[in-house]
Structure formats: structure tokens, C-alpha cells
């Protein structure tokens, strides 16, 4: 199988999983973040369920190469810098404001109506603004 077919299949499976798990429903996501209200644990099950196959997959990569050839991603860096922390905080604030993160924003596009579309366009604008922001954080902490 070539890499395009596998990417399409992975995307379809990812989209179906996001859809079936309820993660395209902002009420479930905001319910998980609302720890002082009526807490909804669904997201924890989604995250836990997703980590299990990936934990196995990472172990399987040892001493092997990807099906299409090339090499697996390098071992993760342990570098905790300002970009990681500031980026995660900005992302979390936006996530808690609407209840959508990038995957579900894409997966719900067909039924998210104008709200979904406005969110996606704003998200793309934010992504365009990221490289200069990264450079700014680098120079501020250098």
C-alpha cells in the first residue's frame, strides 16, 4: 500500500473515532474541563482508549522501519521551553472557550454549521500567526 492510501485510511479512522467517541460534541469536552460542575469523564476514556494501541505501536517500532520505508520519528526531546508552556496554555484557553481542538474541528466540519466554519477559519489564522510568535518567544528567552 502506498503512503497516500494509508494516510487516507488513518485519517478516516481518526475522524470516525472522534465522531463516535463524542469528542465532536463541545458539551462533552467542556463537561470534562468543568471539574467544579457536573463533571463528564468521557474524554478520559477516549484518551485512555487511544493511548493503549499507541503504547503498543511505539514498542513495535524498535528495531523496525515504517512499511513505506524511511525511519521512525527520533526519540522525544525532553526540552521544556517557553514555546511548549506558552503554546499549551494558549491552546488550553481556546479549547476551554469553545470546546473544540484541531481534530474535532475538522471532523465536525460537515455538520458543525456556521459556528464550526468560523472556528476553523479563526484557527487557521492563529496557525499563520504562530511562526512569528515562536520567533518572538525565542528572542525573549534567549
Amino acid at each position: 500500500m502506498n503512503r497516500l492510501v494509508m494516510a487516507l485510511l488513518a485519517g478516516a479512522l481518526f475522524g470516525a473515532g472522534l465522531h463516535i467517541s463524542g469528542m465532536t460534541d463541545t458539551q462533552k469536552v467542556l463537561g470534562f474541563l468543568d471539574i467544579f460542575g457536573e463533571w463528564d469523564p468521557t474524554l478520559m476514556f477516549v484518551m485512555g482508549g487511544a493511548i493503549i494501541p499507541m503504547f503498543v505501536a511505539w514498542r513495535f517500532t524498535r528495531g523496525r522501519t515504517p512499511l513505506v520505508g524511511g525511519s521512525f520519528p527520533a526519540p522525544p526531546s525532553d526540552k521544556i521551553d517557553a514555546k511548549l508552556i506558552v503554546g499549551a496554555i494558549l491552546f488550553g484557553l481556546g479549547w476551554g472557550t469553545v470546546g473544540l481542538c484541531p481534530g474535532p474541528a475538522l471532523a465536525s466540519l460537515s455538520y458543525g454549521g456556521s459556528s464550526g466554519l468560523i472556528f476553523l477559519v479563526a484557527m487557521l489564522a492563529g496557525m499563520v500567526a504562530a511562526p512569528p510568535t515562536r520567533a518572538l518567544l525565542d528572542s525573549a528567552t534567549a
Binding site: T24, L100, M123
Partner: protein
Amino acid sequence: MPVDWIWGLAGGLMIGCAAALYLLGNGRIMGASGILGGLIDGSARGFVSERIAFLIGVIAMPAVLFALGDTVDTHATGSVPLLIVGGVLVGLGTRVGNGCTSGHGVCGISRLSLRGMVATGFYIGAGVLAVVALRGVL
């Protein structure tokens, strides 16, 4: 409701299998913000068609399920200012922090990446803060 957890777990396992397929097949980390963002800011370098194929799958599969009669609702706010602020922060934050729920969360935590775990702690904490703050205001 207990049934929500079961759907969550089933959907989560599918997400994990999708990430495993993308890793073992294509040798790439399945992070939604990275795959999309690399196309948007031009940092994708190669792999462009692979990213587009992935995104087509993500958007098309739920559309098919929806067309087959699955009743779903995102229940997203109709407030344009909130949608714009939330969207910009998510797009900016995931690309500055180099990952989102799928990249740092699913793919990072499963390989015991310190960066993935620290990022996940911070974005969940900030998300809780936003929910609590907005509930006080709105």
C-alpha cells in the same frame, strides 16, 4: 451516562489505531495540528499530498456517518466573538507549543514523552481555567 463512556472508549481505541497505522505505516506522528498547520504555514516540506489525504479522511468519514443518518450536534456556541477568540488561541497555541490533544496527548503520552505530558498538563489546566472563568462571566 455509562453508555457515553463505552462510546468514548470505542472511539478512543479507533483514534489510537489510526495513530498506530500512521506511525507504523508512514512513520509519522499523527498530530492534527501538525498535519494541518504544516500545510498552512508552509513548513510541510514534502509529505504535502500525504497530509492532504489524511485531512480528506478526517473530514469525509464523519460526513459519511452523518449522511447515513447519525444524529449529531456539536452544540458549539453561536457567539462569533467567542468562536474567533477560541479558534485563534487554539490555532496559535497548538503551533507555538508544537502539538495538540492528538500529538502531545495521544502520541506523546503513549511514548512517555516528558514534553507531551507537560504540555497536556498545561492545556488541560488552562482549559479548566477558561471554563470556570467563562461560567462566572456568562
